[in-house]
Subunit: 332 residues, 2 copies
DNA sequence: CTGAAAGCGCTTACAG
DNA sequence: CTGAAAGCGCTTACAG
């Protein structure tokens, strides 16, 4: 457990100054080929690895990015985290990860711990009511990519899915199936300002058939249990419910289970459309009809946006809205 | 976007030396109550936050831990990552995350990037054949908790589930159901030395009914598609197959799908037992009978073991083996 | 109870 | 092409 070799050790071994070793290691140019060779030899022999902590102290660049998620156990999230991590690593960045449970105080704590560790930037799935927090950090110079919300601030870029469009697709599909009595299950963790899918659903419904027969509305946790509870709420308001648009696939699965448990058939009696297209959705019975969000695409856009932001401090960047797609399976 | 306040700034404002501010900020004692109060006031006013990078350069402690996973999209993993992250954060640590895809070279790259960033320790789900790599880092002084494998080295602790026992539970259950023609589906990513569940299954089978009728063996990716392929392999070897023990729940779900697709009923014609008890397992049809691994417990033990290791450098720590449990649902 | 000095391992700006 | 000096923001000895 001997000490790591330093620039100084390498310099001593070769007989040059640390400054010269630094030049070679960082590929700065301005040294003879022979010097380069001798330095690299010593680097190998001593297993020299630049200390990123020391480097970060001076350059204010740590080669790290932070991912701030809501909850890793939301099945929508892991594929995204994996994609972001891989792309970040591809760009030479090491990733911090922390989840907030959508709690703004936890988010504040997380951002603080990232900030004092000199992260180069963060990708965040914002907690409830945390826009000001994010704006603050952006103004202080932290590059931030916000997913699934919109805000304008220096050093902040926004990336999201066209959930409003997705809601529209769901509405059209249910209408085409002949559904009359519609219900929508929202999530309590999704604040009103972020209810894009619901807005799209309701607007399309109103556009197509006028706004009589307003849909039943429920609100629950974004989980299977939540979906079961949500369907019960809907049924209480509208006993002849025959079409449901659920916040996400987990909620949709819960809604299907509750419908079946109540003696109804899916999709014959109640058709259910989910959102996300998580892996599980094609393996449940009936397989879920849902709005597919291309998570691989989102992770690519988020990492690209963050790189841009890191590369050009203070810049504004155009908001990216990714298209979504209806996947028809069995539940609707 | 003005500069962060430093110890020096706080000291200047109060009219004391940076050394004194350092004492107060780190709660070292050895200052008057009045000094403390004045310093804390200035800290508030200037929004002073200690720069962890500078601190880490001296103390060799960064307040970070690294989580090295195989693949975040394995549904077994996220709940674990979430638990580890939360507990680490509770202990004041910030977590790095990277996945290796079970590739030892990617793992080497990841460990290196963590090491040069002065992580205080890592929790790793080891890649294939990477024992030497981990032993090396342990010897160099990196505290390491290895999950699901066993190795003896300084600064290394091992935490795992009693998968051998789990395999035994699966064997007994299938035997009790009257299954005669058994098959086992292993995962290609799991090296022979880590085939504990298979070993337990085979051993228990042999113990109970003697070792005639050796089970059919298949090997696939640890995914639903892999499970479908795995069942086909099994059926090719043993057309009257009636009991399957699958590597994990994803594989079990695939096996069930392939069985049903081939016109067989589950569990009547083929009974299937999975392993992990991921969320999805209770929502598929038929709901999966499986070996439950308590992920919350694992994350607690892993973080605790890592804290111990970080607290007492060079120490050996006893290997922890966590009990598992059979959950009987519909598939067997 | 308090502070001046040295230094963690690098990079930056400058001189030759 | 190369190096001596200063310094990033802290902590660690040590002295008073």
């Amino acid at each position: 457990m001997d000490r790591e070799a330093t620039l100084h050790d390498v310099a001593g071994k070769v007989g040059v100054s640390p400054r010269t070793v630094s030049r070679v290691v960082n590929d700065e140019g301005g040294y003879s080929e022979e010097t380069r060779r001798k330095v690299m030899e010593a680097v190998e022999e001593l297993h020299y690895r630049p200390n990123m902590v020391a480097r970060a102290l001076i350059t204010k660049r740590s080669g790290t990015v932070g991912l701030v998620g809501g909850d890793m156990t939301d099945p929508f999230f892991p594929a995204l985290a994996e994609g972001i991590q891989q792309r970040a690593r591809g760009a030479g960045q090491t990733m911090f990860f922390a989840s907030t449970g959508s709690d703004p105080e936890r988010q504040a704590e997380v951002l603080r711990s990232f900030w004092v560790r000199a992260v180069d930037g963060v990708i965040v799935f914002p907690a409830l009511d945390s826009i000001d927090q994010l704006t603050d950090y952006g103004e202080r110079g932290l590059p931030i990519v916000v997913v699934d919300d919109f805000l304008e601030a220096p050093n902040v870029a926004c990336v999201s899915f066209d959930l409003e469009g997705g809601g529209g697709l769901a509405a059209k599909h249910l209408l085409k199936r002949g559904c009359q009595q519609m219900g929508v299950i929202s999530a309590t963790v999704s604040p009103p300002r972020r209810r894009h899918r619901e807005r799209g659903f309701l607007r399309t419904l109103a556009d197509i058939r006028g706004d009589h027969r307003p849909p039943a509305m429920a609100q629950t946790d974004p989980t299977v249990k939540g979906g079961e509870a949500g369907l019960a709420q809907l049924l209480a308001q509208m006993p002849d419910l025959d079409g449901v648009f659920a916040y996400n696939d987990l909620v949709a699965i819960g809604a299907v289970r509750a419908a079946v448990a109540s003696g109804r058939r899916v999709p014959e009696d109640i058709a259910v459309v989910g959102c996300d297209d998580i892996e599980m959705s094609s393996y449940v019975t009936p397989a879920l009809t849902t709005i597919r969000l291309d998570r691989s695409r989102l992770s690519a856009e988020a990492v690209a946006a963050l790189s841009d932001l890191i590369g050009s401090p203070g810049a504004q960047r155009e908001t990216v809205v990714l298209p979504v797609e209806l996947v028809v399976r069995e539940s609707a």
